[in-house]
């Protein structure tokens, strides 16, 4: 007689592993149930009274503090501002999302935030949330054409930000003046329009963008801003975003210009956090990978449409259940179908690793011995997509690492997500330099990586 119960238990656990934390806020359930609307109606009456009191307070010294508590990025922390986008915009967004190699999870709803019209061209800014990440998406209706561009920031980053604005993309070019540069020796293309956009705190009344040729105002609405300008000449870039609040507070956020010939952004912030390694770790490993344990998801379960090469072992990992960012580890190189680049098999004993993006995935391969010979981790950082102001840090760590902390130049520090020996997190470019520190189980520093940005 076959003892079937343990087999069932084992098979079910293997087939559908349990998630480790709650990825969807309770607020979303209330919104779906209509409970939030009911509560909102009840609150309106209270709100009217509150607004009168707040208005009176705002003129006094207590006013600023009250506004800060009620305002900030709270509208983005607990939902998505703006009104639901048109069905057509939503359909287009969903179609683009479905084409993606790694779609935004949870069928996000697009919200319309604001529009800017310039030279009969319409630049529309939308917002949406997916897990605990909020994203802005700009769409341009213009003869020049420009595919929609999205950029995201985690709610955790918003909570940690002490600024009035958080630019997510800057100097995103639309159209061009004159000829397109086809060889490096030709003069560089001059963009026709440059777009800078981001998230604004509730109390922000004005956002301006400082470029090489002067300062001009952005449109601010629904807790977001969009700045569109015509650079007119080569080398005229947006350099800083300046925001002013109703209580007189001001913020200036520097912009990283990712164009050829531009120097890396120096924020002037100090490097913070531990600088000394307290224990040297050599020849680490990732035991679950060596044992071929079924961590994370298989490529099929993760619904990744990947072709080329056939590693006998590949797992898709989500180090942060609050985020949609995914990484893939495999024992042979993986290159996505989107790139149509032939994989170069390097044997079956590699530890290949890469981030899954909407456009594709490409892994870099090294043996475990190479990765962890004289350090307990292998980190990389950077950005993808034009004008990104939010950078990504990702990497693999050996079993020696039990905790990773991030120290920003602003003095803020936090614990980075770490699961299945993988980590991935965002850092706003304006908060660099960042120091990433790895700790062992005894709390000793075993890795220090300072990221100054490029």
């Amino acid at each position: 007689m076959i003892e079937v119960e343990p087999l069932v238990r084992e098979e079910l656990a293997r087939r559908v592993p349990r998630m480790e934390s709650e990825p969807v806020p309770w607020q979303e359930v209330l919104r779906r149930s209509g409970e939030l609307s009911r509560r909102r109606r009840r609150r309106i009456a209270t709100g009217v009274v509150f607004a009168v009191v707040l208005g009176a307070l705002a003129t006094g010294p207590l006013g600023g503090a009250v506004v800060r508590v009620a305002g900030g990025f709270s509208d983005w922390l607990f939902g998505t501002p703006g009104k639901q986008a048109s069905r057509q915009a939503q359909r287009m967004f969903e179609a683009a999302n479905n084409r993606s190699l790694s779609p935004f999870p949870g069928h996000p709803r697009l919200h319309e935030l604001l529009h800017v019209t310039l030279d009969e061209r319409r630049f529309s800014l939308y917002g949406f949330e997916t897990r605990q990440v909020v994203c802005l998406r700009v769409a341009v209706r213009a003869p020049e054409g420009a595919g929609p561009q999205a950029a995201c920031v985690s709610r955790a980053d918003l909570r940690r930000s002490g600024d009035l604005v958080l630019p997510v993309k800057a100097n995103l070019s639309v159209g061009q003046l004159g000829r397109m540069q086809t060889t490096p020796t030709e003069p560089r293309t001059i963009p026709k329009y440059l777009l800078t956009f981001g998230i604004a705190a509730a109390e922000v009344t004005r956002v301006t963008v400082e470029s090489d040729d002067g300062t001009s105002a952005a449109v601010v609405r629904n807790r977001a801003f969009l700045h569109v300008f015509r650079p007119g000449r080569r080398g005229n870039w947006a350099r800083r975003v300046l925001a002013r609040a109703a209580d007189g507070r001001k913020t200036a956020v520097p912009i990283s210009v990712q164009a050829s010939g531009q120097a890396p952004l120096h924020t002037g912030l100090p490097v913070r956090g531990p600088s000394r390694v307290e224990r040297t770790v050599r020849n680490g490993t990732i035991r679950w990978f060596v044992r071929r344990e079924q961590r994370g998801l298989s490529v099929a379960e993760a619904r990744l449409r990947i072709s080329h090469c056939c590693p006998s072992f590949a797992r898709v990992l989500e180090p942060d259940p609050q985020d949609f960012l995914r990484l893939v580890v495999a024992n042979r190189s993986i290159i996505s179908r989107a790139f149509q680049v032939a994989a170069v098999p390097k044997g079956e004993h590699q530890l290949c690793f890469g981030q899954v993006t909407h456009g594709g995935v490409a892994t870099g391969c090294r043996t475990i011995e190479e990765r962890f010979r004289d350090r307990p981790w292998d980190l990389s950082w950077g950005f993808s997509g034009g004008g990104q102001q939010i950078w990504l840090v990702d990497g693999l760590v050996s079993d020696d690492v039990t905790r990773i902390e991030v120290f920003l130049g602003t003095g803020v520090h936090w614990q980075a997500p770490l699961r299945d020996n993988a980590t991935i997190f965002r850092i706003p470019r304006a908060k660099f330099p960042a120091r990433v520190v790895a700790y062992d189980r005894d709390g000793r520093v075993i890795g220090v990586q300072t990221i100054r940005g490029g």
Binding site: I2, L12, E22, V29
Partner: protein, 153 residues
């Protein structure tokens, strides 16, 4: 309302796990769980307290998961392993046999093994008698045992 929210927070991974097993897609499963809870919040005043609140919610989650379940997409021609990946899905072990069980037997298995519910709660969640739960699980085990026996021969 607090009890519903508390169950949502404390048991969310279990709800999603059962929903995923029924729906076959983790994203759709999360949607189904949220829809179920939205329904529970809307109709909370109709809960008469005859059984446990948790079992009542499980019933909503199971029903929402069945509603969300969709037919698997056809495999795209020419792509090794199907449209969703190059990796050949390993269809060995018990899963193919579990997938062939009648809906009620599968749901009972999921609630028993994923959610660790007792027979009374499973009965309330599936809207059946307690005695029927025992018979349903027993039938599922027998069926799986028989399938495994055949496969091993």
């Amino acid at each position: 309302m607090k009890e519903i929210e508390s169950l949502y927070r404390s048991r969310f991974p279990h709800f999603v796990q059962v929903a995923t097993a029924i729906v076959g897609d983790p994203d759709l499963a999360v949607e189904a769980v949220q829809d179920a809870f939205a329904g529970v919040v809307r109709s909370r005043r109709t809960f008469r307290g005859e059984g446990s609140m948790e079992a009542w919610i499980w019933r909503a989650v199971v029903n929402a998961s069945y509603r969300a379940r969709r037919v698997p997409e056809a495999t795209a021609a020419g792509e090794p392993g199907g449209a969703n990946g190059y990796e050949r899905v390993e269809e060995v072990g018990l899963w193919p046999h579990i997938a062939l069980l009648p809906d009620r037997q599968r749901a009972a298995l999921f609630l028993r093994y994923y959610a660790d519910l007792d027979y009374r709660s499973i009965a309330e969640a599936l809207g059946i008698e307690v005695g029927t739960v025992s018979a349903t699980l027993s039938a599922a085990h027998t069926s799986l045992r028989r399938s495994l026996g055949k496969a091993r021969r």
